[in-house]
Amino acid sequence: MEPAVKPSLKASGPNRHKVSTDVATKSAEKMSERLSVTDKRPSSKAKGRDAAKLCIRKAGLLTTVQDQGRSHMAHWALSRGGAADPMAARLANLLVGNHPDEAVIEITGPGPQIYSPCDLWMASYGAEHELVLQELAGRPLRKAMVLPLHRPLFIPAGSLLQWRAPRQGWRSWVAFAGGLQTPLVLGSRSAHLAAGIGGQRLEAQDLLALNPEVEGISVQRALTALGGELGQRATYHGECAWPRWRIASTIPDGWPLLDVPVIKGRHWAALDPAEQQALMDQVWKVSSQSNRQGLRLEAHGEGRPLNTASLPQLASEAVHLGTVQLPPAGLPVILMGEHQTTGGYPRVLEVASAAYPMLSQAAAGNFIQFHLITLEEADRMSYAMQRLQIRVEQALQAKFGQRFHDTEHRR
């Protein structure tokens, strides 16, 4: 029942969203589903100091608060960091009617268990995490309920949510209406783990501040998006509810084998031709040593580490997200959002920017194969991806009758 409009990006490589951009086309009432769990609203509103705070019951593998990161700080040796897929974090926000720059929770692999004392209008977007409701209105459910992803959800106060290991992909971004209000450091709420700036990884018992008006905002947006009857029932009786439309996940085609488009890097030519061949032909395996700073690759099957004898010794130079470094051990490293800003290893490839989102879904044990494209092809891909992203963003904003501009400053 997924809608029709599938923008065709196929020819040019990573088909990022596979997004169904129909969001504005059908009426919410007609498509709504509901999940009735209780007939009457329990003494609903949470009171007291922690009323508008999420409680992390279990942390999951790596759960952090992220937004669009800290740009323009490279001259202080601070890379942008932020959500591993900033565009997915934008969409997660837009799904719940937030400004796209609001902070979200980034979930990596097996996810957290989170309790909310208040009504939420939220969305989990990105990987195919299994999201289950374990308690409702503060009472355990006999059978945990699986909640749908990639769309907004109304979750009543007293709910306990668990993100289980993803069936596909690796990271999801969870947005809450009104946004998270953890402290701003250098203009961002992102945890930059490599630099030790902003928050840290979340731990059990951590409390995360939501917008103090979260309940009002959530109810209002749920009523708007779900329409009269369903919205009333959900918000008045405390039922989970969601619209039937959704946008497509960000799982790259072919996952867990990622076909990563690259252009030649600055030191490509210095690499021995036989090694160039091996770098491109081999299927690389993502090592468990990978993190938000970089994806370390290891040889797999017939593969082997590369001979780097022909590569030059370098004085430190700028490196960037998507740079593929080749250290002396001969195993490539793809730099991720929390990369160092300068590095001394030869840079043999650069990942096309249109493929950055794909990298954020690469888990340890996944496979990566590079394929060379020209600079012109890379330009075309990034333009096509950006057009698609903007179309989806506009459709989502239209859905909630909103209009956010890139220049708008929210803080």
Binding site: W76, V185, A195, E317, T341, L375, S382, Y383, Q386
Partner: protein, 221 residues
């Protein structure tokens, strides 16, 4: 990207061009990073693409701008960096490699300290981690390759040397340089403006302090 290779003024040119680009932002440049002898520019984010040829046209403009300025920059007079005198404590508990460095350089420990104090250092590159500055201009008598195997954990504040550079580690991290002392100041303060104590182009000199003074300043940071 520009590479001035082994030109003696390469780093100075890189820093002056980077400063110019930050002062007079250009539409085709989102961010600029000076390396030891290179300058790298990054195009604006894909979000700003107005048409399919936008990236190519930014690249052309950037290259035209760079090829014109790269030569010029070598002739610009060196900007006089701000001089900062930073406290340094060379007492044994804070300087695990001092004796090793002295032996390898064929010097006495006090000579190593004296040469380090006499070095007129310049913050050539800001990189590696927030607050970290590669300080060029180390006294030639102290030139040593890095450690054979890096330490898993270098204590915060450590003053280190390797090659013709010195540095201070802003926070605890793995590192392969030789540790000859410690600085009690905080090098990166996210809540201050500017957050980094050392800026690109700063001239740095160290001033020796006692262990007591170190401990006192450390406790006040």
């Amino acid at each position: 990207m520009v590479d001035w290779h082994d030109h003696p003024k390469a780093n100075q040119a890189a820093r002056s061009l980077a400063a110019l680009l930050r002062q007079e932002p250009q539409a085709f440049c989102d961010e600029v990073v000076a390396g030891v002898r290179t300058l790298a520019m990054r195009l604006p984010e894909t979000r700003g693409l107005q048409n399919p040829n936008q990236a190519a046209s930014w690249r052309e403009q950037a290259q035209a701008w760079l090829s014109e300025k790269a030569k010029e920059a070598l002739c610009w007079p060196a900007a006089e960096g701000r001089l900062q005198v930073l406290p340094a404590c060379y007492e044994p508990p804070l300087a695990p490699d001092l004796v090793f460095v002295a032996e390898r350089c064929g010097l006495s420990v006090s000579d190593v300290i004296r040469h380090h104090l006499e070095s007129e250092l310049v913050a050539e590159v800001i990189g590696f981690m927030p607050g970290f500055a590669y300080l060029g201009g180390l006294h030639p008598a102290l030139k040593l390759p890095r450690r054979d195997s890096p330490r898993h954990k270098v204590p915060e504040g450590s003053i280190a040397i390797a090659g013709n550079q010195s540095a201070i580690y802003p926070s605890s991290t793995p590192g392969g340089w030789h540790l000859i002392g410690s600085c009690p100041l905080r090098l990166f303060r996210p809540l201050c403006d500017p957050p980094a104590l050392i800026q690109e182009g700063d001239r740095i000199r160290f001033e020796r302090i006692s262990l007591e003074a170190f401990e006192q300043q450390w406790s006040q940071r």
